[in-house]
Symmetry: C3
Subunit: 365 residues, 3 copies
């Protein structure tokens, strides 16, 4: 990392600099681990004690902290800790960039357009594909024939872009993310076990169907990803059937997330790790799906919805709702059910004992 003065960093953060503001640091560290040339990050009072154990001369501190009493020579005051982290880590990030260049080991289709893009070693870009200026493909990236990728994107190692995909500008795709694999869409000639189960009343027993062969519905619609989207490591976004699966501008998708065929996700959403959204479900804007949320197919999830970790969504959710539980309920109902469930064993014991005839007094007493 190159070095930065406290003054420069504070300016980049739009924050106040105090003390020896020309002091220079080469990186950031946790308070107890900070070296003398590192900026300690102590953005809440909980880190105060750790600061005194480290060797930092400068720190980002919480509003109101007595930086001199904490043994610092310089300080930056951060009113919103995580926002300061965003700005600071961006400043310190020495991610390589540079002029467009194609590594000689990459295989680029003759009709592909990659002017101004940086194509890393052993990448494959198919015929007719287009990659925008300023976009960087790390090693081992595959771009299918005809796919289009915007400007200033970063595609990490092992990313797969399949046919009919259109990726916006400033999109970040983490390693081994798959965009545009075929949708999981199959149908039997007659009514299948899955259809019978959906229609079943009571505890129907399913019998072997006469013709159990699954016929494949091909995925012709590709994927459309808006500007400023991020998709995490080893996640998969499937192609739509006859129109694109869509992820809206500014939405961030974590690792190991499954986005099914025909799904539409709006703008500025957060889709946390290990979440799955099944085929044709529509999600609004600014919705946050907590880790390992499951959403079944063909639902409508509104805007400004938040689900807790592990929520299983089996029916439509109106905008603005906070949902939890498996199956999902509004937060209050879920918490009440959970509390009641924990008290239930005792209740059942009490009721059982209440049913017993009152024991007669022992005549020997």
């Amino acid at each position: 990392m190159t070095s930065h003065s406290i003054e420069e960093i504070a300016a980049a953060l739009g924050a106040e600099a105090l003390g020896a503001v020309s002091l220079r640091v080469t990186g950031a560290a946790e308070p107890q681990a900070a070296a003398p040339d590192e900026l300690a990050l102590a953005m809440t009072p909980a880190y105060g004690e750790a600061l005194t154990r480290g060797r930092a001369r400068a720190a980002v501190i919480w509003p109101g902290a007595d930086w001199q009493a904490l043994g610092l020579e310089a300080a930056i005051v951060a009113p919103r800790a995580r926002l300061a982290m965003a700005q600071l880590t961006q400043l310190l990030d020495s991610a390589p960039s540079g002029p467009g260049e194609v590594h000689p080991s990459a295989v680029i289709g003759e009709s592909a357009r990659v002017d101004g893009a940086l194509i890393g070693p052993l990448c494959v870009v198919g015929e007719g594909a287009e990659i925008g200026a300023g976009t960087r493909l790390e090693a081992h990236v595959t771009v299918a024939p005809g796919a289009r990728i915007g400007q200033d994107c970063r595609l990490a190692a092992g990313v797969r872009i399949q046919r009919n995909c259109r990726i916006g500008d400033r999109v970040i795709l983490q390693p081994n993310a798959t965009i545009g694999g075929d949708g999981f869409s199959f149908v039997t000639r007659d009514v299948s076990n899955a259809e019978r189960a959906r229609a079943a009343l009571g505890d129907a027993r399913l019998e072997p169907p006469e013709d159990p062969v699954w016929h494949r519905i091909h995925s012709l619609g590709g994927v459309e990803i808006g500007d400023d989207v991020e998709v995490g490591s080893n996640s998969a976004v499937d192609a739509g059937t006859i129109r694109a699966t869509r992820i809206g501008r500014g939405t961030k998708v974590d690792n190991l997330v499954q986005v099914g065929h025909n799904v539409v996700i709006g703008e500025d959403c957060l889709i946390c790790g290990a979440t799955g959204i099944a085929g044709s479900t529509v999600v609004g804007d600014r919705t946050v799906l907590g880790g390992a949320t499951g959403v079944v197919d063909n639902l409508k999830i509104g805007s400004d919805v938040v689900t807790g970790a592990g929520t299983l969504v089996l029916s439509n959710v109106p905008s603005g709702r906070i949902m939890m539980g498996s199956p999902a309920m509004p937060m209050t109902a879920h918490l009440a059910s959970y509390k009641a469930l924990r008290r239930l064993p005792r209740l059942l014991r009490d009721l059982a004992s209440a049913k017993k005839p009152v024991p007669k007094p022992d005549p020997n007493d």
Copy 2:
């Protein structure tokens, strides 16, 4: 896409063509988005209104639809909508194929046999591996030494086939799918925490074991995948210990699915996204595991079983059962429990208030 006449398409679907059957279309689209040269897909009455908003001249419609009133010049009647989709999308799919050819950038072992296969750029095929005629490896596919892949398969970018794997004919493996990674199988010298927990009664506290080192059980058995199987993006099928992990003919596995070592899955099953099946479990034929189903190790799941999304299977399931919930119960029992759970908080309030002494009348009233 090349163009097809309505008559040709109807014939391919085994369906009835009506009106100007020689009209030609170049693709398919949703009713409201269809261009004049696209075939609108309006297979249920719900799409009728959307048809009138689009510009399609021809559509696939539901039985009984008044196609002329819907403003169409030609129509195809589809009695089973999704089956027609399967046939139609296959017809319209312009997936590349061609004579066997090896891209010059691929690395092919001298003793590998790839006659008639299409090997894409930067693939690696190990010594002694065999790849059948008509099979296509997209870019960046790895086939380990000695692995065998049948005819007319498609292995998408980033697929990994490890040692001792045998893949049937017409198998489709989506991007970044891993077949034959080592099983997760470890043992400690003495009784481990995991074993103690299984044997525990009551709330035993686990103490540090004397020798906590995990010894590795190697995976020598590989994977056997039957004909017409599909495995989704970023899914993993682990190698068996001393015999193969097996996936039966015609079974379809979705994205981000984990199939543990020694698992046996029967024929014509659907294993939906984000499902995990732990080691040595056996699944019958035609079974459908809904999204994010979890099945623990060493179980027997019968044939014609269907699980709902998010089901956690902790014990054997007989054939023909519909299971839901976490832990899994038969559907009726699960729905009854869920309904009861939602009513429970009120019940507890009622019971609590019933216990309170009856308030005495206010003498001032």
Copy 3:
């Protein structure tokens, strides 16, 4: 496989050999499938009958088995079946190894150090990266500039090692595993929907925030993986923010596991398939997280903890606890709740019928 005598195998297992101990076998098999030159594995009495159906002349048997009555010529007695499996499968594993060598198709940075390592076809090793002697990179592995990998490791096809990662000795990374992708860490300028939901009391409705744009916190801390760690196929371990995400010595991580940024996992843990551990959570030593366990962010999970499959951990867990359920409870409480839940529908029916007025006698009776 090369052949081994019963005597040699028993010696390698530290076990007792009986009968014709010079008999040679070329591999291991399940009892019913064993060929005459294969060692049958029949380590519990449940396999006795299967032995008589196979053609094995020698077997690994349980203590006390009458090997002659089972039709065997030679036998090895295994007091701890799975430990014998570990030793035996290691002995029979013919995984290739050999002197360090760099495949001519690999792309190695000029300043990278790979002496004594085996670099497979089409691997990429970035500038300044270091790979220890005896380490084997299979095909299509990416090692970012500056990453460090220890000795005697095995990195399977498609493994991605991102910048700032340090991997210990004897580490095994399964195909398509991703180490060091960027953490999922975003912040809005003002209070986000996610923050509002955490603070919400009752069923607050979330309204669109004024500025919904997610700002990215960059991941500068990389990943540190200790000696003897294994990470499964298609799993992802994210980079830390300003210090490394850490996985301790001897810990084994299964397939499709998500380890979030800043997470610290101790030594000798087992993290089973499809588990997700969210950002900044700390896990102790020897802890076993069952399949599809979810752990939310910023928690402390102690040492010697065991969670059942599908456990959802929403709060800190002290050392030594056995946890189950979604949300997690101590095992006994979970089992009691589950039992009570199954009895609940009947209870509600009973209570409902008790409330009904007693029907009056029919005067016509």
